[in-house]
């Protein structure tokens, strides 16, 4: 009985132990899988014609002829939608109509003056035009159908073909007719609601299609194109078609949100209006208007990003990271390997060497943010006088130094003593034997240490926060003093794009894409190190 209890405990223990490893593996997968899955869409996705337009305009890529053809096709498809929209807006957008009427009146006055109409006729004609205009304005502003009808009738009464033909006033009459037709279908009491909702519809259409051919091209690159990705397009379509209505909850105590289609015959805002068909139409022909296609945007890793990270890739960040880490390695590899060689081969066992070892261990334990403080207080303040690539790399080099020293020391110590004996027995001096026999034998171990510290340096953010990393710095100008310029980096960019940059919240694929790039970089380096290590142990066994 006792034995069974003990065995039960034993089994439990075994299960717990195995379980913890399983937990570890699960944690790794739980981390990697979502990050990679959400990051891959930054590179592999269904891109729309807007994407290809953007690529052509910002990066000079793509087949211009095919693109032009596509653009024309999509515009044709979109035209249908726009027509419905325009038609409806005319009636709602009274501001436009008002302005138009005022302009017409002004033009007419100018024409009269230009024609040098005699004063009496001028006053009379102008007076009549003014009356028409005022009626129009009143009609536009009023929400009462009868009132509007009255105004429009009054305008009809003033209609005089002869006097006004060929003039802007004729257009006023056309407007009158259109408006009359419009108010027949539109519920004017809802005009304000319509106005607001219409704005939303217009905005979403803008998000989908970008600026119209006749519109002015906006300055911001972000605004120059519609939805570049199919998933984003679908998202905007949803915002277009569906609206949120607040209705009382079941118990009547609070209001709850309910999603309802804008053209829903019972509750939609635009039910029964001329605009209603727009929604189902857009849904139906969205593919034709956007022409989504499978896209492999590998240039993601080398493209610059447009301001705000809206388009483009993480090129500058990758370059910055490479620059910083390689420069850091230039400092730390010689320092580290030579120090390790000294410690193993030449150092005695005296107090100074003990102090050196304690210091190396201390360096290994300093938190990365304190390195950042030191970088700022020393490298930036005294060496480079301004934050930049050099100060950041020097800080990183210091961070990574203990890692290299430890790994190199281990590798050099692992070289069997007999190698040294054999070399010395053949007459090689201490230094010679180290250089020609020990170092090559320790090579793979040292290389592994270097690769691992490369990966560590690439991933560190805190040391470079204040010593040279910036979120929107331009690519360092290699013609000038690039080492004194601030630079972007993958690690810092990941932080900034997730927490600091509000604009970037709109492009989650970008956020995950940058992190994925960093993770892939680090993973590759580590896998290489692992492979080297296993190859090396095989080689030493003579295989």
């Amino acid at each position: 009985m006792q034995v069974r209890i003990r065995q039960a405990w034993n089994h439990l223990f075994t299960i717990l132990s195995s379980g913890s490893i399983v937990l570890l593996v699960a944690a790794l997968l739980l981390f990697l899988i979502p990050m990679l899955r959400k990051g891959i869409p930054a590179v592999v996705f269904r891109g729309t014609v807007e994407f290809r337009k953007m690529q052509a305009e910002l990066f000079d890529r793509g087949d211009t002829m095919a693109l032009q053809k596509e653009t024309e096709q999509t515009w044709q498809a979109r035209q249908e939608i726009y027509t419905i929209l325009d038609h409806f807006s005319r009636g709602i957008d009274t501001e436009k109509l008002t302005d138009e009427a005022k302009d017409l009146y002004r033009d007419y006055g100018q024409i009269l003056r230009y024609q040098e109409t005699p004063k009496e006729q001028y006053t009379e004609l102008r007076g009549r035009a003014k009356e028409i205009r005022d009626h129009l304005l009143d009609a536009f502003e009023s929400t009462d159908k009868d009132e509007i009808a009255a105004h429009l009738d009054a305008i009809e009464a003033l209609r005089d073909e002869a006097a006004f033909s060929g003039t802007p006033v004729e257009k006023m009459f056309t407007m009158t007719g259109d408006f009359r037709k419009l108010i027949a279908t539109v519920d004017l009491s809802k005009r304000d609601i319509f106005a607001d909702e219409l704005e939303v519809v217009k905005e979403e259409l803008y998000n989908l299609f970008g600026p119209r051919p006749d519109e002015q091209t906006p300055q911001l690159a972000m605004k120059r194109f519609g939805a570049t990705r199919w998933d984003v397009a679908e998202k905007h379509l949803t915002f277009l078609v569906w609206q949120e209505k607040w209705i009382p909850s079941d118990d009547g105590q609070t209001l709850v949100a309910k999603q309802v289609r804008r053209d829903d015959p019972l509750e939609g805002s635009f039910a029964g209006t001329e605009l209603a068909p727009l929604f189902s139409l857009t849904e139906k022909i969205l593919k034709d208007t956007m022409k989504p296609r499978f896209t492999l945007y590998w240039q993601y890793f080398i493209d610059d990003s447009t301001p705000g990270h809206y388009f483009g890739g993480v090129g500058p960040e990758v370059l910055g990271t490479l620059l910083l880490t390689l420069l850091a390695m230039c400092f730390s590899i010689p320092l580290g390997v030579i120090s390790a060689a000294y410690l193993v081969e030449y150092a005695g066992d005296n107090l100074i060497v003990k102090i050196i070892r304690i210091c190396i261990n201390t360096l290994a334990g300093v938190p990365s943010i304190v390195y950042g403080l030191f970088g700022m207080a020393f490298f930036v303040a005294y060496i480079t006088k301004q934050p930049g690539v050099l100060s950041a790399s020097m800080t990183l080099a210091l961070l990574v130094l203990p890692v290299i020293i430890r790994a190199s020391e281990e590798a050099i110590r692992a070289v069997p003593q007999t190698y040294r004996e054999a070399a010395m027995g053949l007459g090689a001096g201490k230094f010679r034997s180290f250089l020609t026999v020990t170092l090559p034998a320790a090579g793979p171990g040292i290389l592994t240490g270097i690769i691992l510290s490369l990966s560590r340096a690439a991933g560190e953010t805190a040391p470079i926060l204040f010593a040279g990393a910036a979120a929107l710095a331009p690519i360092p100008d290699f013609g000038g003093k690039w080492w004194l310029q601030e630079t972007r980096a993958l690690s810092y960019g990941c932080y900034d794009i997730t927490v600091g940059d509000k604009l970037a919240m709109m492009v989650p694929h970008k956020q995950f894409g940058m992190v994925m790039t960093l993770i892939i970089l680090v993973l590759c380096l580590n896998v290489i190190a692992i492979v080297i290590r296993s190859r090396m142990s095989k080689k030493l066994r003579g295989m």
Partner: protein, 333 residues
């Protein structure tokens, strides 16, 4: 070939060596010079590490001294007391900025301890698994996995915490905010685990087979052997492992900055992990960027850095102490 065919060498002046066995004076001098110069160069290069550590301490102290030693002795004392005991952290206040860092210090310790509570049992159990239970092939696969866990950059963990864990916490667990102490602690424990596991596993393996064999020979199960014999024998090494894990957790910046919520107050029921806290590292990282140089705020941030440095240095020395004790014990056995 038998040895009778050997004849004494026909060269009577047998001691002639074709190369001189003596050093010429110049050779001797050259060798001496080269040796000493070489030695000197190597030593100075190695000494850079010492200089670096001294420089780090010096500069961090230098920039925190203006905060600590402002005014007379009583003034400084009250400032330091306020720093260490008050939770009112309002450095940007116009009139009377307050520098009470207690909430921040507690925040760091809180998050660290929570992460250790999760990581130590799992880590030690995993180390046991790797050293004693796993077959060789499984161990070969586990080592790279642990290395990869350790290699993932902290900022990547931070993004994960903000964009995956935090929304999940809000949606599924109904927390008011997703960036809080438990979020940070969870991620920190994942980051500390590889350190704990590798050091603990080394310690367990270093104990050697003899003790285990003795225990098994007396009829103990594996669990009993591990719990009653091996782990106690390796306890110094395991303590060292835990301390190293603690060092990792307390010194971590990006994850806590992004995941802990950064609200400077001590959680109100102390066990409520779903509240936001702020750590020392996050405070420095968050505020140093916006602070003009040579202001009080600037100095106090360095003071926090000094505190961090002292903490981790102390932890480092403690873990060294335990490691040497462990090595002595395992050698003496």
């Amino acid at each position: 070939m038998s040895k009778n065919t050997s004849k004494p060498s026909s060269n009577p002046a047998a001691a002639q060596f074709s190369r001189p066995l003596r050093l010429s004076v110049s050779q001797d001098l050259r060798g001496l010079l080269a040796k000493n110069i070489g030695h000197g160069i190597l030593f100075s290069i190695t000494f850079v590490s010492v200089l670096a550590v001294m420089a780090i301490f010096y500069f961090v102290v230098q920039e925190s001294v203006p905060f600590i030693f402002k005014g007379g002795f009583r003034d400084s004392l009250s400032r330091v007391t306020e720093f260490l005991t008050s939770t009112a952290w309002y450095p940007q206040k116009e009139e009377n900025p307050e520098y009470g860092a207690l909430a921040i210090i507690v925040g760091s310790l809180y998050v660290t301890f929570c992460s250790l509570i999760i990581a130590v049992p799992i880590g030690v159990l995993a180390a046991v698994f790797l050293s004693d239970i796993a077959p060789f092939s499984v161990r070969q696969y586990c080592k790279p996995i642990i290395e990869i866990l350790a290699a993932i950059p902290s900022v990547a963990y931070g993004v994960f915490a903000v964009m995956v864990v935090a929304p999940w916490m809000q949606k599924t667990l109904g927390f008011s905010t997703g960036t809080n102490a438990i979020n940070a602690s969870l991620i920190l424990s994942v980051m500390a685990l590889p350190t704990i596991i590798s050091v603990a596993e080394d310690a367990l393996s270093a104990i050697g087979r003899e003790i285990r064999e003795a225990s098994y020979g007396l009829g103990a199960t594996r669990a009993e052997t591990m719990i009653k014999v091996v782990i106690p024998a390796a306890h110094s090494g395991i303590i060292a492992a835990v301390i190293l894990g603690m060092m990792r957790a307390i010194g971590e910046t990006m994850v806590v900055w992004m995941a802990s919520g950064n609200s400077s107050r001590i959680p109100s029921p102390w066990w409520d992990l779903s509240q936001s806290v702020r750590t020392m590292t996050a405070t420095i990282a968050g505020e140093l960027g916006e602070v003009p140089k040579d202001t009080d705020h600037y100095y106090v941030l360095f003071a926090i850095g000094l505190l961090l440095l002292i903490f981790t240095f102390g932890l480092n020395m403690t873990s060294e102490f335990f490691m040497t004790r462990f090595k002595k014990k395992s050698r003496g056995l």
